[in-house]
């Protein structure tokens, strides 16, 4: 045990996390580059490959598309932030302590839905024949006109990303020690002072990470852009990558565009990483409760909160409700009886659970390594994980396919490829969710743990896990949900013998079966919710057991 009589915090004394994390990061970077490299190496079967004339002919368009992609992603991220911040404050003030709490657990579902489903939900509310149009007709006004274009894309991106931001902000707010709220109430701080002194310092730290992830998500947005964009003028690099790869079968061009996309994203990650909070905040190791404040009962605050909750209902909840209503038809029972549904359900469940556990474990290791290295190392870890938001699944999948085609039977390994790809897609989210809390915990517990010579697995089990359990549960739940919604990789590797639920949904849509598709979409939503809830509850349960042992 402690041979040294001087228990000092030292980076060399950090256990296996740093080497493990480094290994993982190196693996992640290598895998992404190999996949793109495989595309570059394959050459173009239909022409001379990536030659100068091809490039110069396309350069102008590529620049324009890249510019627009950047613009819409920045707008989307900024708008999501502007909507999510006040919502987080209101939720923290009202919703979490009331019966409305359920809203919070429903809302995240937006991010994980297959795009087609999400868009049909959005149109159920904002469409010309949607909920709002019906309301307007009821009061004698004209219905909404078509919403397509940049506005619709922004609306959809806000719908997708606000719930995610909201969750992370709330997790940050819940880490403010109760003592601070007590003090604030005693000192009679005004709403603004409280925001500035207590809430903002915590939220500020989360912003750069969140904006990064949302920006990257919107930067690589694809089907949604094509559905709501209104025409080819609203487009993204990802659309060009897809068409290069599938329509023109111009593999080197796809690889080149992927590199452009990757470069822009890397630069952005690098810049935003500089703003990552590094200051000290007092942090409670366990979730703490907010104490009510004098200003909470003022009429204006109440009114404001009601407005924000109403906006949330309209923005995030109504589309989900619309999907649920559409799915509740006679076809629902029918669909539940399909043998194909059972097979797809089993496959989806296994893949989702496995990918959730893997992604969460990997994210935890990397996050733990991140707090033990210097700023260059931190940057490396952030980059390695964020890569998989910038490398599109179709490029990654095709690259892997090219690499593996001669070596193994692609059909037999299809489930593992889907698992791997889903895990990589979930990793950036898990990592962002876990990393913030991990950093806060490290700051407050490092010295104590080192002086007690608690490290490695024991420290994780006894100290870190109980504090981190809510984030781990959320990360695993979100990963499982993301994996349930994935459609890209399965489409590349899929076969009749191996089907997941989204793939089944996709097949149903191909044959006019609108009601069956709606029923399947509803089932997918419910399953997502169950899995997500299961992981949250599971983590809470495990944490309870751990706390018992410790006592």
């Amino acid at each position: 045990m402690a041979n040294s009589s001087y228990p000092i915090v030292s980076r060399r004394n950090s256990g296996p996390y740093v080497p493990l994390g480094m290994l993982a990061a190196a693996g992640l970077i290598l895998m992404a580059l190999t996949a793109i490299g495989a595309l570059l190496g394959v050459g173009n079967p239909r022409s001379e490959g990536l030659n100068a004339s091809l490039l110069s002919g396309n350069l102008l368009r590529v620049t324009q598309v890249a510019g627009f992609t950047f613009w819409q992603a920045s707008l989307s991220a900024l708008l999501s932030l502007l909507v999510a911040l006040p919502m987080a404050l209101t939720f923290w003030r009202r919703v979490l302590t009331s019966r409305l709490r359920i809203l919070n657990s429903l809302s995240f579902m937006t991010i994980v839905m297959p795009t087609t489903v999400a868009v049909s939900g959005l149109l159920g509310v904002w469409g010309q024949n949607g909920f709002i149009s019906h309301l307007m007709w009821a009061i004698g006004a004209d219905g909404l006109s078509p919403i397509y274009g940049l506005g619709a894309v922004l609306l959809a991106h806000v719908f997708f990303n606000v719930p995610l931001m909201l969750r992370v902000f709330l997790s940050g707010l819940s880490s403010i020690p109760t003592a601070q709220w007590r003090l604030a109430a005693q000192w009679g701080l005004s709403d603004w002072q409280r925001f500035k002194l207590i809430e903002w310092p915590v939220l500020k730290k989360l912003i750069s990470g969140l904006v990064t992830i949302v920006f990257l998500l919107c930067f690589t947005s694809f089907s949604l852009i094509l559905m709501l964009g209104g025409g080819p003028s609203v487009t993204t690099l990802e659309v060009s990558i897809y068409t290069a790869l599938r329509f023109e079968f111009d593999i080197p061009m796809a690889a080149f565009l992927s590199l452009v996309q990757l470069t822009i994203c890397t630069v952005l990650v690098a810049i935003l990483a500089r703003f990552d909070g590094t200051g000290m905040v007092a942090i409670a190791p366990l979730v703490s409760k907010r104490l009510s404040q004098p200003g909470d009962t003022s009429r204006w605050t109440l009114l404001l909160d009601m407005g924000v909750v109403a906006a949330f209902l309209l923005l995030a909840m109504a589309p989900i409700a619309s999907i649920m209503v559409a799915g509740l038809s006679n076809n629902l029972l029918n669909v539940i009886g399909w043998p194909a549904f059972h097979r797809a359900l089993l496959a989806s469940l296994v893949i989702a659970i496995a990918s959730a556990l893997l992604a969460t474990a990997l994210a935890t290791v990397i996050a733990a390594a991140r707090v033990r290295v210097g700023s260059a190392g931190k940057w490396l870890f952030d980059l390695a994980v964020s890569l998989y938001l910038a490398v599109s699944a179709i490029v990654f999948g095709t690259g892997l396919f090219i690499l593996l085609r001669g070596l193994v039977d692609v059909f037999l390994i299809a489930p593992f490829m889907v698992l791997l790809a889903n895990m990589l897609v979930a990793l950036p989210f898990s990592y962002r969710l876990i990393q913030g809390k991990m950093a806060m915990l490290a700051r407050s517990q490092d010295k104590l743990c080192n002086s007690l010579d608690l490290r490695g697995w024991r420290r994780f089990r006894l100290i870190t896990f109980p504090a981190l359990a809510p984030e781990l549960g959320f990360a695993a739940g979100l990963s499982a949900a993301l994996s349930l919604g994935d459609m890209t990789v399965i489409a590349l590797f899929g076969s009749q013998q191996f089907q997941t639920l989204p793939w089944l949904l996709y097949q149903t849509m191909g044959r006019y079966r609108a009601e069956d598709a709606a029923a399947l979409a509803l089932l997918l939503l419910v399953l997502t919710l169950l899995l997500f809830g299961g992981f949250i509850k599971g983590a809470a349960l495990l944490r309870g057991m751990q706390v018992d042992v410790r006592d």
Binding site: P45, R46, T116, V119, L123, G127, Q128, N129, G130, P146, Y148, S223, L226, M227, L228, G229, G230, G231, P232, S233, T243, L245, R246, F247, E248, F249, W338, A340, R343, L346, A347, L349, V350, I353, A354, T398, F401, I402, R405, G406, V410, F411, L412, P415, A491, L492, G494, Q496, Q497, F498, W503, Y506, Q507, T508, M509, G510, R511, Y512, A514, A517
Partner: protein, 332 residues
Amino acid sequence: MNIKSLYVTFFMVLCTPVLATAKPVLTVYTYDSFASEWGPGPSIEKSFEEHCGCDLQFIALDSSIGILGRVQLEGENSRADIVLGLDTNLMTTARQTGLFAPHGTSLKGRTSLPVTFEDDVFVPFDWGHFAFVYDSTKLSTVPTSLANLLSAPDDLRIIIQDPRTATPGLGLLLWIKSVYGDRAPEVWAALRPKIVTVTKGWWDSYSMFLEGEADMVLSYSTSPAYHIITDGTDRYKAASFTEGHYMQIEVAGMLKGASEPELAKKFMNFILEEGFQTAIPMRNWMYPAGRVALPDGFETLIKPEKSLLFTPDEVAANKASWVDEWQTALTP
């Protein structure tokens, strides 16, 4: 059930079809909805297996262009014996890969296509006309020609698909090109205000149309048959255009590297027979390429007098520049 036993079960489910097979296996790559339970795949499989003494396996990929890409990536080592679901627009490109073998089947007198089709590598299995579909309970003034559609007021809203990602989208591009030639860019510019949105796939558009997002949607002239036969409603109709309708012919081809070449030839011949063709109208919602009777409901569909179709070579030579032209015309 714990996770481990779940995974074991899962793996067994996965491996069953592989282990259970002792007969020769004929592998057919096709697009997703063809192989699905509601597509023609299962019934075709059943009727072919009655005679062949083999196991016919469909492998579903995400689109017809996806099938070709997959086969190109796999090259000589492809598992596929047959590729089913390309169309005339992809034929030349597919032929140029050098991966396909002659089918050795006689097509003469066996097809019911509105145009002549002779090819030694590809066998047609179904066809259809592209058309704009509308809801007759909502749209009163229906355009009767492309020219009519162009001059209609801008509150006539249509949804179309992207020619780079969806077959009907490419179909409309070629339709306009074959009617207007060099004037295509101005036609697209005139159409632009009427286009609500351009989607990635056919279903995205079609479901938006069903939800009331537009007056007309680019689809097939056979789409109303689905609503008549399955939903029992004739409210959805296809608009008949006097300039003629562009058509799509879907084809199959066998690969040089087929591991079961004799079986593959047998299947290529089977494509135009009754056991295959009767599955097409009500499961793929297209016209069968062979000579079989059509189910009730199909007689109510529009019958374009003129079928427009570029040769596969023309499409292969010009597709890229025409798509560029389209993109420029629709970008303000």
